[in-house]
Symmetry: C3
């Protein structure tokens, strides 16, 4: 990612730290884990989406394995969450804000990198979203929660918007700092509105919520 | 997959659509999901097995990311399931038939592609089965069900038969439309007999069914 | 892995067999599975960690797909567990010992192979641990258990020690049979002490164990 503009790199590193912190906090709250588990899940949350993307486009070893700063920030965020989980419980909003920064940046970088590797529009959109939500999905699966991206709040949709703006900008020859900022800002604003007003994507048509036989749903907290 | 015979391509696209539809329906029934979740799980069911195979043989980006028809059919089937899930509940048998077409075709294509990439007999059999069952396994894991392929009905075994016939035909220099049809038909018939007579592979010797501490089994429906 | 010393190869094959056996036994105990499920989970336990490592470093098809002995030993161990699960329940300690041999060897080989492919120290440590624990983690996720490596006993830490000694030896130009044996022995001893004295990595600071909302924890046995 050496060719990304410096601001995008700064946002990406911020997002990696936030995902590591938030992923580890979620793990601490949701399951009985030791320090190995908490730090592992924080790192998986922070690095997992990018790793899946890089494996799918054949860019291995994954970018985050080559640049030690991603490793260090993901692990640092996770260790912080392990050490100060009680304290951080009170900082829900700042953490959610940083997490939304990560989601936005990851979606932009994922879509742009997919296009760089010659993928079409559909897969680039998909990989933008996967970069944003893949790590959290892996974490949720490992701690036996139905991934929150599949069922609650606006999470995948803002990432899709950011990926869509990015793909449109690249195709129009306008991929540069201004379009990146528009994509990041659009995703960030939609995500924060979703959090603020508890917006959800619509459930299945003709079924009430909870209509399925969801016997082992381990709770709704993200 | 441009070198596959046209009939196999038609079956493959049919199977992709059926897997997208059936995967999304299973998701609607099993868990409380929004439209993002239902469509994601339908697409994962339809495309997941082929993606795992392509990652394992180094054919990235995966074939289904390069040919937009797979994407469109998987997403179309999933959206249909989201929109008409109540109605489709009554069409169990036609959906099961289409699903068996997909399983059969995916197993044949998976085994044949693995041999094309220089893998031996054992891995080719494995990748035939993985292509057929991988997507459904990912979906089940994400919605917290023990993957049905691991515990109920004949699902992996017919796929293994199709992969076995395919590998034998390739090794004998007879891989062409007739042998493909034999492999697809054999898998299809075994699968449908399994559904019709509720056949299961044998459980662990010396243990009664349900003997394990399966505390969180979220139900038996596929 | 043709360049590994013969003793390391022997340990690696022993570990593969032990992981296949132990993984299948865990599957039999934890969930209601048929023969397909038991053998699949045994093979996933034995081969999964190495497959993840090889995918991440771009060494596909994975080494275990190319060398039939790994396949055969993993499947053989799993079939043995399926056939004699009642009997093997009484052989807990020998199986745990063989499993620790596998963990130690896998961690050493994983770290060494990552360095061979040009990865840095951090990713090499990570891939050493992933090679050791990845298969069991995949198995646990598929049968809906929170992976034991994330929450109980010393399992990842001894693997990290073995990977650390390996990385240090390679960097010092001392990677040869003696250093391999030191790394394997260190991991093995720490792991067995952990089993013997039921040692666990520390839980989250400032929280009592079980403080999280772990509603769907399907049991503690490994």
């Amino acid at each position: 990612m050496s060719t990304e503009p410096p601001l995008l790199l700064a946002l990406d590193l911020t997002g990696t730290f936030a995902f590591g912190l938030n992923g580890a906090l979620t793990a601490v709250r949701a399951a009985r884990l030791d320090v190995v588990g908490v730090v592992s899940l924080g790192m998986i949350t922070a690095l997992g989406g990018g790793v899946i993307r890089d494996v799918l486009i054949g860019a291995v070893p994954p970018a985050t394995f080559v640049d030690w700063r991603y490793f260090a920030l993901a692990a640092g965020g996770a260790l912080l969450a392990y050490a100060f989980s009680r304290l951080l419980d009170r900082l829900d909003m700042p953490i959610t804000v940083l997490d939304a920064v990560g989601l936005s940046t990851f979606a932009v970088i994922g879509a742009s990198k997919a296009l760089d590797h010659g993928l079409g529009v559909g897969p680039a959109l998909l990989l933008g979203v996967v970069t944003g939500v893949g790590g959290g999905t892996m974490r949720d699966t490992l701690i036996l929660r139905i991934p929150s991206v599949l069922r609650s709040e606006l999470y995948a949709i803002p990432a899709l918007v950011a990926a869509g703006i990015t793909v449109a900008a690249v195709k129009a020859g306008l991929y540069a700092l201004p379009s990146v900022l528009v994509a990041v800002a659009a995703c960030f604003v939609i995500r924060m509105l979703g959090v603020r007003y508890r917006l959800n994507a619509p459930g299945p048509l003709g079924r009430r919520p909870g209509d399925g036989s969801s016997g082992s749903d381990p709770g709704d907290q993200r």
